[in-house]
């Protein structure tokens, strides 16, 4: 039976055969953004189809790109210019497979397209980016977007990969069939960007005209719901139609993913139709989806041609090893070992150079300025604090180089695949792997990346354990402690790398252990099935990796030059004032008399069972702002203590530190316990702020502080006391 509900067809006058009540509405005939308002484009498509690469090419921005699904989890707004120099606003949206959002990142895309976000302008036009190697699947989402009745530009991205895979797509035929501009391109190489900009510059764009007949049994329900949504819920006519189709196909996901509430009338109509169909035994949802795919399949059949039968691709052949149940793990372990080994070996020379420059600067200031507080502030506060942290820049850069390499080639998705099995054992979702892996760099983007996880409880578990993964801010602390623990070059880099690897392992094991615990107590839910798209391998894009490294280096140096500088100056003041009545008193006595000394003494009873004295206590307090502040704090505290002649690296000053009874403070056991403390303790204000924002409550960040810092104390207590008992 023929159906009477169709997407708009512009027809001869551009208005097409719209239902009468829609035709009467004030729809843009060809939706030209001719008004004075800056036209708004939404950039949408499946995950990992190259939207952000295209967005960066159009806007000149530098949003993060990577060869794995789920890099973009929040909308990004940029500005581009038409060929006539008019500004155009572009919204880069997280990837989605359909309008039926299943996870918070997909919900962002759905809500912006449906005009539900008060903070985002509703897009006038939509740029649909398609993965040419997966045309049929990509077109499903495009098909749903056509329902919205907005002008669309289709970009067939990754045409080079499609050709290599033996797929030939007739872009002109596709354009004729869809009725919208279709641009073939390769965003990575900048091909098609000019053509896209020209298409975007057109004053008028045709509305899509691809016909799709809604199955007859469903058509009356769509019409009734559409009318109710339009009249009762105030939706624009075509948005109402798209939402009606969405409600009928994916009611549960639409509701779960935080849809705006529907009016009682709409809910009543929806329930009535659902009950009626349930009584008839009709799978209306499946029928609707199938009819869309049938239409898309016919279209794909007409516009694509296989030039050769596809055998296993190069990616498939490589995957046979990299995701193999034995070889895969071996490769994974080798890559990780290589990463940590490089951190120690490659970074040694630039580190020594920075170290010597910092020392030389300190000497120069001392020789130039006369003795006094200002000179001490520069040498013991600014140079010791900031210089102490800047020395770790090479190691941070090496870490980001490796992470960038893994992201850019597509290996990251394979690592997620490998980790799915061990992670499902502790009840974690395989999709949690990328947020957790991202947390090795910084917990903040890691926590943001949890938006790709559909289940709220799984997402919360991942957020709760993500800060346990050793982030790059812990790196300076570990490195300082290892340098203090293992003086000189007596021990090979392999041993140092081994200790470092142990700390990373401890954090990861802790994250898995707590995830297991939370999934069995606070946040029970069944382990979900993981579906992850493995992108084809690509050669690393060194330009992007280098850019990312430069950005991270700048961020690190900016942090050192602002927050860490300010904290170092304040800490210098707190360790210097009030001054001891006797100016000839030893540095030890002077610092014990200072504000910081007095505060440290107050908390000392709490941390003494862990082997820490009040000076370490000051470092623990100040590093609550950010973990790396611990290193600069040690620089200031031990710099102040060492007196006027100090230009030695912090580690030497720390190695010389003693308890009042003359026993060394930083014994190997204390160094290890301190590292373990930083593995577990929640010492980052920015992470707390982001957890509050993502969970929308103070309950979870406070719980996180309590459980992480509590665990840190207990584990350190046990380790220190056991170590002492064993004679270390």
């Amino acid at each position: 039976m023929a159906a009477n509900v169709r997407p708009p067809d512009p027809g001869a006058d551009g208005r097409g055969d719209l239902p009468p009540h829609i035709a009467a509405a004030s729809l843009p005939r060809r939706a030209s953004p001719a008004s004075e308002r800056t036209p708004v484009y939404a950039m949408v498509g499946n995950p990992n189809c190259g939207k952000t690469t295209l967005f960066n090419a159009l806007t000149g921005l530098r949003q993060k790109v990577g060869n794995y699904p789920g890099v973009t989890v929040e909308k990004k707004i940029g500005e581009a210019y038409s060929q006539h120099g008019r500004p155009m606003k572009i919204i880069d949206l997280p990837g989605a497979y359909s309008l039926a959002a299943r996870s918070p990142d997909e919900a962002v895309t759905r809500d912006v397209l449906l005009g539900r976000r008060a903070d985002t302008p509703q897009p006038d036009r939509v740029i649909c980016v398609l993965d040419a190697t997966n045309l049929e699947r990509s077109l499903y989402f495009v098909h749903q977007i056509f329902d919205l009745g907005r002008p669309v530009i289709v970009v067939l991205n990754m045409m080079d990969l499609a050709q290599r895979a033996g797929i030939e797509i007739d872009a002109r035929e596709l354009e004729a069939r869809l009725g919208v501009p279709v641009i073939a391109g390769e965003a990575v190489h900048g091909r098609g960007v000019v053509e896209l900009r020209l298409a975007m510059s057109r004053a008028e764009l045709p509305l899509p005209r691809h016909r799709w007949d809604v199955p007859a049994p469903i058509a009356p329900a769509v019409a009734e719901l559409q009318a109710s949504l339009s009249e009762g819920d105030g939706r624009p006519p075509l948005v109402a139609r798209a939402e009606a189709l969405l409600l009928l196909t994916d009611f549960d996901t639409v509701r779960v993913a935080g849809s705006t509430p529907l009016s009682a009338r709409t809910t009543g109509i929806l329930d009535a139709w659902r009950q009626r169909w349930a009584g008839q035994g009709t799978d209306w949802s499946g029928t609707l989806i199938k009819s869309r795919y049938d239409s898309i399949h016919r279209l794909c059949h007409d516009v694509t041609r296989r030039t050769r039968t596809q055998g296993p691709s190069l990616s498939d052949r490589v995957d046979a090893i990299l995701i193999h149940s034995v070889w895969g793990w071996l490769v994974f372990a080798t890559i990780m070992a290589l990463l940590f080994f490089s951190i120690f070996t490659l970074a040694e020379y630039p580190m020594n150079w920075i170290d010597s420059q910092v020392a030389a600067l300190g000497d120069w200031v001392k020789s130039t300025m006369s003795a006094g507080d200002l000179r001490d502030l520069f040498t013991d506060g600014v140079i010791a604090g900031v210089g102490g942290i800047v020395v770790f820049l090479p190691q941070i850069l090496i870490l980001f180089f490796f992470v960038g390499l893994l992201e850019s080639t597509g290996y990251m998705a394979r690592a997620a695949f490998l980790m799915d099995r061990p992670m499902s054992r502790v009840g974690l979702h395989g999709k949690s792997f990328i947020p957790l892996l991202g947390s090795y760099a910084c917990a903040i983007p890691g926590i943001m990346a949890t938006r790709t996880i559909e289940d709220a409880k799984d997402r919360l578990v991942t957020i709760l354990v993500a800060p346990l993964m050793s982030c790059s801010a812990r790196l300076p602390v570990y490195l300082l402690m290892i340098a203090t623990l293992l003086p000189g070059d007596a021990l090979p880099a392999g041993t140092k790398a081994g200790i470092m690897l142990l700390m990373y392992f401890l954090g990861t094991a802790g994250a898995f252990g707590f995830a297991w615990l939370f999934k069995r107590t606070l946040l029970r839910s069944s382990p979900p099935l993981m579906i992850l798209e493995l992108p084809p391998y690509q050669p690393p894009r060194f330009k992007d990796i280098l850019r990312h490294m430069v950005e991270r280096a700048w961020l690190f140096l900016k942090n050192a030059g602002t927050i860490i500088l300010a904290i170092s100056i304040v800490l210098w003041f707190l360790t210097t004032y009030p001054k001891h009545p006797d100016p000839a008193a030893s540095p030890d006595v002077q610092i014990a008399h200072s504000f910081a000394g007095q505060a440290g003494k107050v908390i000392e009873p709490l941390i003494k069972p862990l082997g820490f004295d009040w000076r370490i206590g000051i470092g623990l307090i100040t590093s609550f702002a950010a973990r790396e502040v611990f290193v600069s704090s040690m620089g200031v505290i031990f710099g102040v203590q060492a007196g006027d002649d100090n230009t030695a690296p912090i580690r030497d000053a720390m190695r010389a530190a003693v308890w009042p009874d003359g026993a060394p403070l930083f014994t190997p056991l204390v160094c290890l316990v301190l590292m373990v403390y930083y593995v577990f303790a929640m010492q980052c204000m920015s992470t707390i702020a982001i957890v509050k924002r993502e969970t929308n409550s103070w309950r979870w960040p406070l719980f996180q502080i309590a459980y992480m810092t509590g665990t840190a104390w207990l584990v350190c207590f046990a380790a220190y006391q056991a170590g002492r008992a064993l004679g270390f």
């Binding site: 806007t59 000149g60 921005l61 530098r62 949003q63 993060k64 973009t72 989890v73 929040e74 909308k75 990004k76 707004i77 940029g78 500005e79 903070d119 300025m369 006369s370 003795a371 006094g372 507080d373 200002l374 000179r375 001490d376 502030l377 910084c442 903040i444 983007p445 943001m448 990312h548 950005e551 991270r552 961020l555 602002t562 927050i563 500088l565 300010a566 904290i567 100056i569 304040v570 210098w572 003041f573 920015s686 702020a689 982001i690």
Partner: protein
């Protein structure tokens, strides 16, 4: 510079550092794009 002057200058710098920490958010100004595009960044509008 004598010791007293050095002390005054050092304390002035300390006061500036404290003010900088207290009013950090206000001093931050408009952000450009960043690598993560999200991390603790209050604005989602990343215009050039």
């Amino acid at each position: 510079m004598n010791a007293d002057m050095q002390q005054i200058a050092a304390l002035a710098i300390v006061a500036l550092a404290v003010l900088g920490l207290v009013f950090r958010r206000r001093l931050r100004g408009r952000r450009k794009s960043c690598a993560d595009g999200c991390a603790a960044c209050p604005t989602e509008k990343l215009r050039r």
